[in-house]
Symmetry: C2
Subunit: 224 residues, 2 copies
Amino acid sequence: MEPNIAYLGALVGDVARSKMLTALMSGKALTATELSLEANITPQTASSHLMKLVDSELITVRKQGRHKYFQLKDIQVAELIEKMLNMSASMAHTSIATGPTDERLKRSRICYDHLAGELGVQLFDTLQSNGWIVEAQDTLTLTQLGLGFFSELGFDIATTKKSRRPLCKACLDWSERRSHLAGYLGKWVLSDVLERKWAHQHLDSRAIEFTSHGLKAFKSKYHL
Amino acid sequence: MEPNIAYLGALVGDVARSKMLTALMSGKALTATELSLEANITPQTASSHLMKLVDSELITVRKQGRHKYFQLKDIQVAELIEKMLNMSASMAHTSIATGPTDERLKRSRICYDHLAGELGVQLFDTLQSNGWIVEAQDTLTLTQLGLGFFSELGFDIATTKKSRRPLCKACLDWSERRSHLAGYLGKWVLSDVLERKWAHQHLDSRAIEFTSHGLKAFKSKYHL
DNA sequence: TTCATAGTTCGACTGCCACCGAAGCATCGA
DNA sequence: TCGATGCTTCGGTGGCAGTCGAACTATGAA
């Protein structure tokens, strides 16, 4: 029995479904209605799409009262979407015009569970030029120096040892075409930012908006 | 402008096209007719599919006499297909019944440019248990010991320095669900095998068949 | 030149699948 | 209990994309 990728491709290959999946790249759990708005279709149609996506285990549902919250199933799925986003960004004629959120999306956005966009790339560059992370060929490593730096910021290396997820990972950015920080450390940075309320996610997109104070604090914290 | 992954998904999302792409994972350049056979469609239909795939830059063409040879465009594409193969292998109901090549496919096959299947996994395990490669979290590194070992076999580390491609990489196997050796080194191992004529690619698939002598030589060379 | 083979273009057909309106459950708040 | 909201099921519609037969262009071989 050989795997059949056509089915998987077709799942992503519908405009409405692809919009939903992309919306879920925010990492947030969204309701059926929200997703139907995101995809510009009626709730009925959305319902059937969502059923397919759940059946095929690309997303999961959690029922909460009369709402249903949908989420990408796991990192595997997010990685696939991310890869496809990247590839189609470099394909000339495959982009679609969208609204005013675009600028904010370019500036800073959430890539499943870490920071992407210009700001994400900027962070990556600084970490690198300070010798805190080192990129060699395809792999990214946290240096001793970098470990010291992040420890002072409150990052606890011990918690990561349990996880099989890589500590550092370079994730290619579709808008910038350059690397930003992913992996466990990338996740930590983003959750730290949100926890401190330096930024909040824009309601209807993956864009994330820094407060003016938050941006200053962020920049100073990471020496940008 | 936000990238639209639906178009990309739809390209893979057709059964005929997905079969062609999967066939091209052998790394071989195949003609239009061969691909049409692979996909069980008439040459006319194949032609229109191939045009789409070329237009969207998933594959490339080389014209040679009255033949047209098609190939995956680059490693990016191969990685996408590989990722999708893996994901759909773990999705219960997405596999399709195929012919007798299946067993051979499971045993050993080509994954774009390196060795996969049982034999590939076996090689990986041995390299690991001998301390020649080390897998930590998501990254794979060749140890000093391993470098020595491979150098003796005729592997020239110097040539890899120029390439931006990672030296070692763990590639997940859809049939075995375990890692096998990819990256530059993986490519080298396969090309070495083929060069020594220890094995030859089966004509109509990604399966690769070892001669009995070749298999012995291979196993002894890598201490399997 | 002539025939065979590789690939393409055109037009017609067909079937699937996304889509929505209408109606039906389920849950919550009052 | 009643209305409002969130989501689903059903049935019917429409359009697009994959399919092939037939006819065409290129290349090579005899």
